[in-house]
Symmetry: D2
Subunit: 311 residues, 4 copies
């Protein structure tokens, strides 16, 4: 583990020019995002928009979904423009909670688009998802700060070094798993908003998931629920399917059962060996994971029990 760099404060690990490059994209300055869900009923939209209008906010985008106008659930995402948003945000959150959310029994989240989510990438030995996220971040494509890479193997340290991101090698064995997770938790504490498992071949314990206190996104190399568990490409070859896929989902204690954020597939044929199928699949894995991370970090994903609304 790279103790020196992993103990640096958050603001030091991303080069300033990169961050600002991202922040310039799409003119995100002074843009707020509001995610809401509650029991559906009359007056919700009118109350929310009146609240924003009264504070001088201009609604730029809005997405909304109702599972059933009579007794269903209501979900909404609003992007608004408001001068001096970052400094006004704490007050705005408090007032929205008191004046709107409380009245409708609403869960909500309000954030500033210009503040990127801080992300830790977990990886084992396959480099394709890791490098793709690092490349996209460096190009200013992803609304994130990648602040830490964690791996149970040392193999990818040199690749990560080129991106100026600290690489923590924390081996995991059956015997040392609890201790390793403890080290991971200490490393991430107060430093990340999201954990991304970019082909990390260890199962995170329920204890870890509870204590890390931020969401975790995993990429599974099959079109779930087909071929859950180990060796999905071998399973796919054996079953003779004509397409293989990948699934990005939130991690829950039930392995491969968490809410699905994004999926895609690619066509294969009898000509391809398991190894060639895995290569084709890798192209899908990295794109599906990148889309899921982008959607989450753009505050476009809402949970509806074990499924997702992706606006």
């Amino acid at each position: 583990m790279n103790e020196a760099s992993s103990s640096l404060p958050h603001s030091a690990v991303v080069a300033p020019d990169r961050r600002s490059q991202w922040a310039r994209d799409g003119a995100l300055h002074d843009h707020g995002r509001l995610l809401m869900s509650c029991q559906d009923g009359p007056g919700i939209v009118a109350s929310v928009t009146a609240f924003l209008h009264a504070r001088g906010a201009n609604i730029v985008h809005a997405d909304q979904n109702s599972t059933d106008p009579e007794g269903g659930k209501f979900f909404q995402r609003i992007v608004f423009h408001l001068p001096n948003l970052v400094e006004r945000l704490p007050g705005l959150r408090r007032e929205f909670g008191e004046e709107v959310a409380g009245r409708f029994g609403m869960a909500f989240q309000m954030s500033a688009a210009e503040v990127p989510k801080r992300v830790a990438l977990f990886v084992s030995k396959f480099d394709h998802c890791l490098l793709d996220l690092l490349w996209r971040w460096r190009r200013g494509e992803l609304p994130v700060d990648i602040v830490q890479v964690v791996s149970n193997h040392p193999d990818l340290e040199k690749d990560v070094a080129g991106f100026d991101v600290p690489y923590a090698h924390i081996p995991v064995t059956r015997a040392t798993k609890a201790e390793a997770e403890q080290r991971q938790l200490e490393l991430l504490e107060n430093r990340v908003d999201l954990v991304v498992l970019a082909r990390y071949m260890q199962v995170l314990s329920g204890d870890f998931l509870r204590r890390v206190e931020v969401p975790a996104i995993n990429i599974h190399h099959s079109f779930l629920p087909a071929f859950a568990g180990a060796g999905p490409y071998e399973q796919a070859k054996k079953r003779g399917v004509k397409l293989v896929g990948a699934t990005a989902h939130y991690v829950t204690e039930d392995l491969d059962e968490g809410p699905i954020i994004e999926q895609d597939v690619a066509r294969i044929s009898h000509r391809q060996s398991v190894r060639e199928i895995a290569r084709r699949g890798a192209d899908i894995e990295r794109v599906v994971l990148a889309r899921a991370v982008e959607a989450h970090c753009d505050d476009r994903v809402l949970l509806d029990d074990n499924t997702t609304i992706v606006f």
Copy 2:
């Protein structure tokens, strides 16, 4: 031309059971749809939602897009629930025009979801797009009443007869084109909300397009702007492309240049003859046209100059 049936009033040409089957779909009763576009600026969304809330309407879905919050264009589609919508609609339109639209220089359209758009299908000899629309309508999949088929050939009359839709055979030659269009206009007058060119191999004149007073949607058998004009599959084979496509667009006087509503593609290979490519393409044409007709008739398409916003 089937004079007898084509002169029947609109309400007689669709079997009641079919119409109600469609209307039951998705619980559309008392659901209104509001489409708006105007210069962007503060307060639009708040005004619209306040207007609806004050009348007891509950917003069920909302989509919104702004090309630029500073001086850009604003587009919105709202689906709302309001008891007794159909009878209240004329008053609601008038009030919305006075209280909201006028203030923001807004173009808008308000309709009742349970009232299907009345559609005329124009066709020449290829049956795939025609039959697909008729099948989908009979199954209750499309929010339309197909009230008339118009063809410059008699070939498909028997197929259409099975759907109880009048079939008007109006031959078109260079010499008789103006007269034929006059007959078409008389046949459709006050009976249709949309004209769909389901592989109609005649160019409609600018005079026809102005006088028909309803939009027309065409399916072009290529991925426009590639292979505009005649023989797109022959052109595709000759150029050696690896995908062929189809494009549904609004008809304008500039052939193949109207606003695009929907497109899709299919993979082809060197093995396929022009005839086989055309067969593969036909599968894309009928699906793309059906999606475009559905989007238009669900009031999900807004024009932005020569492009579309499809919510």
Copy 3:
């Protein structure tokens, strides 16, 4: 059951003009197809091509696959041109068996491309797969003769009548299943080369599958192995997947476990109800089933245990 028409000899049930329309497609006259599989080893291709060359046959297409040149399995499909093929076919088959197939322990099948496969369609109440196959056949797109429709419901009889194909209504209940299958077998005996289950909602017994003596292809409305069994679209909605699919497979006694011939998927979102997902899925089902039937009837499918080679 339509006894009168179902007892007609095969040659009477297809209009001659349709058959010749299909037969003209792709210049199939005097074209033979040879499907082979055996243990791989040296000299197979040379022997097969020498056999054909010695008889004046010209190889037009060839596809070949070897799972492993050392000890793997070898699969090949050859299309050849040979004058007077239909009358020479019985002799050619015998000679090929003696001179080539026996030597390599080869399973093979030799057929004339101009002789379409005779097909029976089984259906319950959903019309989309049935109509799509009938319509493609009428257009001359499918290398088949559809000689019989069998249904456990009377609903689709009128639609089928428009295609001049006999419709046998054979109700199936738990109590009468064995008797119903007996009637089905008698109806099909010596009249069909393939059974297609075009959304037939009954499970065929192992006894039926053995006695019918021709292959059966089924369309399952999910991306197998995901969502096997009943209600796949309900299952898909509940699990929150982002794509739904369809699978065409050979029918075996193990429900939804037979060799997969073709699959495809379509994107869905949280906005769509189960009913809307089913509509979107239906577009995939009909295309996937049509492709599988075409591949089988073009002699392009070979079995490799429980998987398929589709050339």
Copy 4:
């Protein structure tokens, strides 16, 4: 320009472990590939297979296409296994030319699968195609040796250094173009089998293309023939298409008109700015280019006038 490393002999520029990693893939040892095209006629396949069989070669894969068995063109690709192939190859080529190719007026090419094609990558400032090819090569996914990167800008030198490939910075201005091309030609002479333009924003002159004596593959960031020329994503946004694509093609003197090897598309919407469309398109560009390079270097591409046969 890195003179030192660019003057190294070919065998020195690729680390031995990488090359062997690739060569192990798919058990390519002693596998030969034969590409042929000629006027179709009887006896071609039999002669070719007899030639190979007589030398103890075992045919592993074979693909074949005839545009018309009567007077059309014939194309074939054969993969065969033959012990000591690399040393026997020169003799085999000579004998095949004398005994088979001459007789049928055949153009052919025979190569050893284990000898990777030597590739030079040309790039300007966009890194996505360059990095993707370098990374696939390092993973052992591409049957190539990347021996040189050439750029008219210095920006990507550091990224390329991580892959141990020499980076030649050769600026190009209108005034210096001829001289720059001369330097490029000297740098590549006898060192490469293929030039890949991985978003190289300069047009290669006809003189360069003739003198380089190896094929060049370009990636164009549109679905050609739509949006040829400059700014295809801006053109796409303006025209309002619903899909954007990418096209990999052989470079000819007619800009954007060369034979197409591979294409693919991605869906876009009105929500996306030109910059976001370009990002989405970049994902397609890198995959389409990688597939085209792989197909070419696997000897799977044959030219048929201005189109390609990709086996």
